[in-house]
């Protein structure tokens, strides 16, 4: 049985339609008009225990709204959610013990208290015993270097420190399911790396993780499954490597040669590949489909035609693929 299950999940927000300027505002006082915005549109999703899922989509696609529906914060307009078979709104208190939520742009720390006290309040709210709590803190300290920020007052934390403290706050009760919504937003590279490493350790321990992010580097190396949402609808749900295999077949071999390459001869020897001259002399780029020929074959062919000085193979990142999906020039099969 899946641990998280959504069926036909839909959320419609009603927005007031105000005309522009003061006139519009006054008019709105008397004749209210609203328009509906469908933020999440019939989303079906099921996540198995221990699975790590990346949930990506452009701004305003409905990622955060989905997370809020899945954690019981928002009431769906239609459709339903089950966490371990429970209803997150009706069984709010029971579900609360099983899920952990981090919103990168929000904090649950007390602004006027040291981080250690905020965490202790959460420990007591979740009824975590002291020994377990100390063990968890020690683990957070290992990867997130939490120790140094424990005595710092909430409002004095830098963004990176706040995010690390909030991560600990979201996980202090050892939830089975964790939603991470934009967990690396605004962080510098060093902190990002640390936080990403922490996600991997979570996944390795068997926690079910749903990660929402803009930064596709968060995803690569973290999860197998990719779900793409656009305009409230899931447009792809499948294997991350599969997407790469299907849509990132293209490879580019950059070569530097000792003498100019006979372009015609290359084209004749490598049908299907495309060869271009790069800006610097004696540098070329060969674009090919990795299912038609291997990089090794290309190199061998070029080496018979001239002396190679250096070469490098570029493969497109998952980021490129998803960017092309967003911009609409790549249509993924469901």
């Amino acid at each position: 049985m899946p641990i998280v299950e959504a069926r036909g999940l839909t959320k419609v927000f009603r927005r007031p339609d105000k005309g522009s300027g003061l006139g519009g505002a006054v008019k709105h006082l008397f004749a209210r008009r609203y328009s509906d915005k469908v933020a999440v549109d019939h989303v079906d999703l099921s996540i198995e225990a221990g699975e790590a899922v990346a949930y990506v989509g452009p701004n305003g696609a409905g990622k955060s709204t989905t997370v809020k529906l899945l954690s019981g914060i928002l009431v769906p307009t239609s459709g339903e959610v089950r966490i371990n078979g429970l209803h997150p709104q009706r069984d709010r208190n029971t579900v609360a013990y099983q899920i952990g939520v981090l919103f990168g742009q929000r904090t649950q720390l007390w602004w006027d208290l040291p981080v250690s006290e905020s965490l202790a309040v959460l420990r007591d709210i979740y009824g975590v015993d002291h020994a377990t709590y100390r063990k968890r803190l020690a683990r957070f300290d290992e990867v997130l270097e939490l120790g140094e920020i424990l005595p710092v007052i909430g409002r004095k934390l830098s963004l990176g420190q706040r995010m690390r403290a909030d991560l600990a706050a979201a996980l202090v009760h050892g939830p089975q399911v964790v939603y991470l919504d934009e967990p690396t937003i605004g962080l510098d590279l060093a902190v990002k790396d640390r936080v990403r490493e922490f996600f991997r350790s979570l996944r390795d321990e068997g926690t079910t993780v749903m990660l929402t992010s803009h930064d596709l580097a968060d995803i690569e190396g973290f999860c197998r499954r990719l779900v793409i949402i656009d305009q409230g609808r899931i447009i792809f749900d499948g294997d991350l490597e599969g997407v790469k295999d299907t849509f990132a077949r293209e490879r580019i071999l950059h070569v530097e040669t000792a003498r100019p390459l006979p372009l015609e001869a290359v084209r004749a020897a490598l049908p299907g590949a495309e060869i271009n001259i790069e800006e610097t002399p004696l540098r070329y780029a060969v674009r090919f489909d990795r299912f038609v020929m291997t990089a090794g074959q290309v190199v061998t062919v070029l080496a018979t035609l001239t002396e190679l000085v250096d070469f490098r193979v570029d493969e497109p990142s998952i980021e490129d693929v998803i960017r092309r999906v967003y911009s609409g020039d790549l249509v993924l099969p469901r």
Partner: protein, 261 residues
């Protein structure tokens, strides 16, 4: 229970983190107390008015001060800003009842408030002379009334803060509440000084229980059945507001949108 106790402690600590601001707030209330004492002293020096003599009014103002200070270190600012910012989303994934959690936070500051009240009342009595205590049953009823005042005040603040879900603004809500509470509770002037019909409305409103009811009982201006009735009204409002607040909360949740992030 452990979670609620932790929330109560957290509010007290957060309040103490702002000792200076706490002290300033206290000074403001004290200035108001001194001003009211001075004004009423001048008014009542020659002859009593509406049944109030100067020593009685002094006692009334002291009770009003105590009633006004209890449950004033509230988490209402934090609650309002979390609603307005949408951080309330994170309060919704905690295994605690939202309303009880906020009550626990309000109770957290109670001991600080009691300490401040004892200090101010003690000093005032030392400077201006003692007050007459009501007889035994009256004193017991006064104590009961002050006790009921704690949840009543919390609920009035809580329900009005929930209005932030609709208004998207806190200052307006807070000012409106303060204006209504000051007038209808008898905190500014005893209710008998209001026009008859307005006094009656105020008497039956939940606000009378915030100042007027305990003060009148303390002064012995009401006793026996009448006093019991006032306390019953106070208690009735606590129950109505406790369950009414739950309905408001449910409506608020349906309305919740939590923009961005």
């Amino acid at each position: 229970m452990r979670g609620y106790r932790a929330l109560a402690r957290a509010t007290a600590r957060a309040a103490l983190a702002y000792r200076f601001s706490l002290l300033l707030g206290m000074v403001a209330v004290l200035v108001q107390l001194v001003a009211l004492l001075a004004v009423w002293h001048v008014i009542l020096e020659q002859s009593p008015m509406n049944g109030f003599t100067w020593p009685q009014m002094r006692a009334y103002l002291l009770v009003a001060f105590a009633a006004g200070t209890v449950v004033s270190i509230l988490g209402d600012f934090r609650m309002a800003f979390r609603i307005l910012d949408g951080d309330v989303a994170l309060d919704l994934v905690k295994p605690v009842d939202y309303q009880k959690a906020r009550l626990a936070e309000s109770l957290g500051g109670l001991w600080i408030e009691l300490a401040l009240i004892s200090l101010v009342v003690g000093v005032t009595l030392a400077v201006t002379g003692g007050v007459d205590l009501p007889p035994g049953p009256g004193l017991a009823l006064f104590a009961a009334s002050m006790l009921i005042l704690v949840p009543l005040k919390f609920l009035i603040v809580y329900v009005s803060t929930l209005a932030c879900f609709w208004t998207q603004n806190f200052m307006g809500v807070q000012w409106a509440r303060l204006a209504v509470v000051n007038l209808f509770s008898g905190a500014l002037i005893p209710l008998v000084f209001l026009p008859g019909w307005l006094a009656t409305v105020a008497q039956w409103s939940p606000f009378a229980g915030l100042t007027s009811t305990p003060a009148l009982i303390f002064l012995g201006q009401v006793d026996g059945r009448e006093a019991l009735q006032l306390v019953a009204v106070q208690l009735g409002w606590v129950l109505v507001l406790w369950f009414g607040a739950r309905l408001v909360w449910r409506a608020a949740l349906r309305r919740l949108t939590v923009n961005g992030g």
